[in-house]
Amino acid sequence: MSESKSAGVLSLLKREVILAGLRKGEREDGRSLTEYREIEVKTGYVGKAEGSALVSLGDTKVIAGVKVDVGTPFPDTPNMGVQIVNAEFIPVASPVFEPGPPGEDAIELARVIDRGLRSAEAVDLESLVLVPGSKVWTIFVDIYPLDHYGNLIDASGLAAMSALLDTKLPVATVEEGEVRVSEEKKPLPIKTRVVYVTIAKIEDFLVVDPTFEEELAADARITYAVNEDLNICGIQKGGSGAFRVKELLDARDIALEVAPKLFEKLPGKPGA
């Protein structure tokens, strides 16, 4: 058996230990069921990027970098800038990651983060138009997990949002249809901030911010993206199990309860 396959299998003994703990309302690292691991956000980590952030969520580490470029808008949104979120599960981060193009998990992660940001209109894409219909700013957000010890979605959400909040956009002027990018920079306009709260279902228990082993023990997971108004701006169920409606509503309540604590960890909005 390859190392990657072995690392992706939880021993039954370990699963029993996790469950025994949950029945007593305890987790292995001493957290309550609705508690996050220690969160650290370091912005401006990569000098060459227009914006970047290194986030650690317990032992999970994710770096996000923002690069910008002048490009063409999508045909159906000629008066909006372009936002592209990509994730690469590089083999550095885990024995379960194989080298090669993004697999379904990496694509799912990127799309979940993208949908949350887009639904909340976090980046003010309408302010990124240089020449309507032909020249707009394209904002690339690239997410790289560096160490995968569970809950990549929430860690990546924090990293992507922090990197966007850290982003300085060059000041551009348009003369006779030509775009000139100056040395001067100003913050990327952000309308609202977004956080992602993922809750794993392990038998009948709902567990916030699952570790890698808790993820392996879980039947399914649910992610709620939450904006600053405490509305839901994205949902993704994952995993091969199923939820009761009540469990999904309980998870929603938990997400809304813990979201403010995540907002505290994010940098403030530019100008705020």
């Binding site: 639904s119 169920k237 994952g238």
Partner: protein
Amino acid sequence: MKNSNIQLIDESGKRVDGRYPNEMRRLRIEAGVLKNADGSAYIELGNNKIIVAVYGPHESTPKYLAEPDRAVIRCRYSMAPFSVSDRKSPSPSRREVELSMVIRQALEPAVFLNEYPRTMIDVFIEVLEADGGTRTASITAAAVALADAGIAMRDLVSAIAIGKVGGRLVVDLNGLEDQYGEGDMPIAMMPQLNYVTLFQADGVFTPQEIEDAFRMVADPIKKIYREQKRALKKKYVDVVREVEKSE
């Protein structure tokens, strides 16, 4: 998804295609439509046309994907190039990769995978014409195709989207509503066991709207389930009728 000047719901509460908020589009399902596949289904939901083939359980190919204690489901959701207004490249897009995965995960809870160790079950979904709501229609049809293949299951899976247009929750967004509406929340359920197997959303919803959406989806899920059952039984019930008539 972006607000626009297009009015998607009028003063009397009617939608662009004349439906009321809690009304789903015309639904028709047919089971056993393909000769080669072990199980198959065809679904029309409004203008959506989707065909699903199930092959298996069969020997795992490639062998290293096999699991010693259960069957592995392989799912491929694919949109034909001619299924949408602008030709879609036949190579899988990131959207199709994600949908293949979430559709698989919406079906897996319903299948007794441990009845078929070391095997593989293929679910191939081909969207022939798309008009909003293809992922949920695909799940509905795929559940029928799996049952049609004689695969052991706990329940069927029935799916439909709740959306938000003009600030209101509505059932089953069509393509136009999906493009210009404020939100889309696809939901799949095992209708008899009452479990949710797919739950996604984009757009902004208040916490209360999440609850309302589940209340609103119950009735359409029942209707879909009834049509799935009818489609699966039709072939066999027809034979009984024919035999009774001849006697």
